[in-house]
Structures are given as C-alpha cells and as structure tokens.
C-alpha cells in the first residue's frame, strides 16, 4: 500500500470543507459550554440545598456518561418526543451540555478561590451585589479561569469527530465518506490526523502561554 498524492490532492478540498464545520461546531459548542457552565456553577453555589444538590447530581450524571451516547439520545430520542433538531444543532447542544459540566467546575473553583476577605471588604465598603461581582470578585476570579477554559476548547475540538456518528459532515466524516466510496483509507485518515495536529499543537502552545501569563502565585 503506497501513499498516493493524487488521492491526497483529491480529498484535501473535502477535508478543508469538513474542517470548517468542525471549527464551527467547536466554537458554538464552547459558547454553550461556557454560558451553561457559569449558570451551573452559580446554582451549585446556591444557598438553596435541594437546588444545589439536584444540579450537582445532574451534572455528575452527564459527566460520568459518554458523550457519544448523549449525542445518540439527542439525535434519536428528541424527534420521537416531537422536537426536531438538525444534526449539527443536536451535536452543538450535546457537546455544549457535556462540557458545561466540566467548565462549571472551573467557574466554581475560580470563584471559590477569591479570598473571603474580599467579600467582607466589599460589604464593609457598602457595595451592592452588582458592584461586588463587577468590581471585586470577577476581576480576580476570571484570569485564573482562562487557561483551563482554553484547554477545554481544545478538548472539545478533539471530540467533534463524534458528531460524525449523528451524520454531521465534519472533518472526520468527510474523510470517512470519501474512504467508503473510493475504498481509500490511508490518505484521508492520515490527513485528518495531520490536520488535527496542525490545529491542536499550536492551540496547546497558546494555552500554555496563557497559563504562564495568568497563573496566580500566592
């Protein structure tokens, strides 16, 4: 089995089209994961014990079960319940929901790590809750959150091939469809691997730079 440059040149445009979908799915999924994760973190910190516990166990359930099965669930079960989603929408929701349980831990830890004295100081300055969060807590809580949130972005990027299982034509599926129609596996799969490395290694390097920049040493 020899490498054929003709096949590689033939499949590459398809792969680049798939890469665009992969990046779109990653960005939209990450947006869902960040927003939902913040809400989950706030609810886990709630004074209302039943609410906090329910949210905790719901996110543990999502965290301890495979993303692939959750995607199947969204893709096959929701239409039976009368809710029709496009494959990409189901994929974005699945990806976002799954990783929101991870990002919520980042948010929670970030907020918990702001020293207690800062809350007390804002109270003694007679700050209202908005001022406390806006001017005291968040400016201290957000910088240490940035590196782990960036790392989850990279993780989500690498999980997007699972969307192929629910018929989204992203990078991996584009290669798979080509492979199955022309019975050529070597070039498409190798190129997919290389394209992943091409994006994820520079991204990991950037995340490491962020980590150096934002790590707080106390």
């Amino acid at each position: 089995m020899n490498w054929s440059w003709t096949v590689a040149a033939d499949v590459l445009p398809l792969l680049l089209g798939g890469l665009v979908v992969t990046v779109e799915a990653t960005i939209m999924g990450a947006a869902v994961a960040y927003v939902l994760g913040l809400f989950l973190a706030i609810m886990k910190r709630s004074q209302n014990r039943p609410l906090a516990l329910t949210v905790y166990w719901m996110s543990e359930f999502i965290r301890r079960t495979p993303l692939l099965v959750q995607l199947y669930f969204l893709f096959y079960v929701l239409p039976d319940l009368g809710l029709f989603l496009s494959p990409l929408a189901a994929g974005v929701i699945g990806l976002g929901l799954h990783f929101s349980t991870y990002t919520s831990e980042v948010f929670r830890a970030g907020i918990d790590n702001v020293p207690k004295g800062q809350w007390e100081a804002s109270r003694s300055l007679n700050y209202n809750p908005w001022q406390t969060w806006r001017y005291v807590i968040l400016p201290q809580a957000i910088p240490p959150m940035i590196p782990p949130l960036a790392n989850y972005l990279i993780t989500m990027f690498k999980e997007t091939p699972l969307l192929a299982a629910i018929t989204v034509i992203e990078l991996f599926n584009a290669a798979n469809i080509y492979s199955n129609s022309y019975y050529k596996y070597l070039e498409p799969m190798t190129l997919v691997g290389l394209l992943f490395l091409l994006v994820s290694i520079p991204a990991a390097y950037l995340a490491m730079r962020l980590e150096r920049k934002y790590t707080v040493r106390r």
Binding site: R64, L68, V69, V77, T190, F196
Partner: protein
C-alpha cells in the same frame, strides 16, 4: 418498557464488554503513563524527544481518528488487529498520553531536597526513583488518575463505531430491532453512570487507604 426486558442477556453482555475494555485498556494506559512519563524526565535527550512526540501525537489528535486509523489503515500496512485489540490499543494509548503528564507532574513535584538526599546517599538512578521519588509521587497521582479512569470508561463507548459489541452497540441493536429510542438509550446511560460511580468509589477507597496508611491528607480527594 416490558419489551426491553427481552434484551436483558444482550445488555449484560454489552455491559461486560464495556467493563472488559475499561479494565484492559486501563492496565495498558497505566503502564504507558509510567514509561512515557518517566521517559520525559530522562537524562537522554533522544528518549525525551521520543516521549514528547508520542505525547503530542496521541494528545493532539482525536481518539476516534486514532481508532479508525488502527482499524482501517494498519491492515493496509500489513498489520491486522481484531476490533477488540484495536479498541484497547486506541483507548490505552490515548489515555496513556494524558496519564504520562500526571506521572511526570507528580514526580517533579516531589521536593528538591529528596533528590539531593538520594544523591547524598549515593543512590543509583534506579534506587532514587524506586525508593525515594515514586513512592512519594504515587499518592498525588491517585485523584487525577481517578478522573482519567472515568474518561477512559467513557471513551470505550466510541469502540462501538469499530464494531465492538459494547453497551452503546447493544443500544443501537435494540433501536434498530424495536424502533424504541428512549428506553435503550436512557437505560444504558444509567448503566454507564453506575459503572462510573463504582470506579469513583474505587479510586476514593484507594486514595483514603493510602492516606490512612501514611498519615497524610491528600489534596483533591473527592468529597463524597
């Protein structure tokens, strides 16, 4: 819902396959974690470079792509793997790369004085790692290893895409044969959750017994 009871034997087989995949790949991943993690600390530059290439390759690409590569491309290069072997190798190699960073980080975080003490005692490199550094690093590895074990268990679901008859595959069979969707998928989600919870309990137990034996408190042990 009653209809799904007919598939109980199949579901049990699927769950057993998921557990087998998890255990076998976890052992493989653990071995790789130590080999690659310690290689990254080697004095030989070429060993360090090789370990880093391995790490970046398996951490930088998607697990599904690695699995398909092993299952569909390696046979073309003359190496045919059974689905189970391809699944175990893909899961083990993938999580092994993450685990190697845990090993490296834990060993590096053992205090510098311990290195110096073993030099002062004229320990060989082997003795230094075997008797001084690794025993102190292991307790720190347990909580992150516990998280990776859950990730590994979840990754085995992906092996259903290379025709392994695990839980996810069985759910797809049930869906195809009965057109039920809610029941099979909800049921296997619960089974996955139960398996994961047993694994969480298992790592907590190990972390606690090490802590008790050595009279130390561990940072990051899950609250239960």
């Amino acid at each position: 819902m009653g209809q799904i009871l007919e598939f109980t034997p199949l579901l049990i087989e699927g769950a057993w396959m998921t557990i087998k995949l998890t255990v076998v790949s976890a052992i493989l991943a653990l071995v790789i974690s130590f080999v690659v993690g310690l290689s990254r600390l080697s004095r030989s530059r070429s060993v360090r470079v090789l370990a880093t290439i391995y790490l970046e390759f398996f951490r930088g690409t998607s697990a599904l792509v690695q699995m398909f590569f092993m299952f569909y491309v390696l046979p073309l290069l003359g190496l045919t793997l059974s689905p189970f072997t391809a699944g175990v190798i893909a899961c083990g190699f993938n999580l092994g790369s993450y685990g190697s960073e845990v090993v490296r980080g834990a060993v590096q975080s053992v205090g510098k004085g311990q290195h110096e003490a073993s030099t002062a005692l004229n320990y060989t490199v082997y003795q230094r790692y075997r008797y001084v550094l690794i025993p102190q690093a292991v307790p720190m590895m347990i909580p992150p290893f516990g998280n990776l074990l859950i990730e590994l268990m979840k990754l085995t679901a992906v092996t259903s895409l290379i025709t392994i008859a695990d839980l996810t595959f069985v759910a797809q069979i049930i869906r195809a044969q009965t057109a039920m969707t809610l029941e099979p998928f909800l049921l296997i989600l619960v089974i996955y959750f139960l398996i994961a919870s047993v694994l969480v309990g298992f790592t907590d137990f190990i972390a606690r017994s090490i802590a008790r034996k050595r009279h130390i408190t561990l940072a990051g042990v899950r609250r239960s």
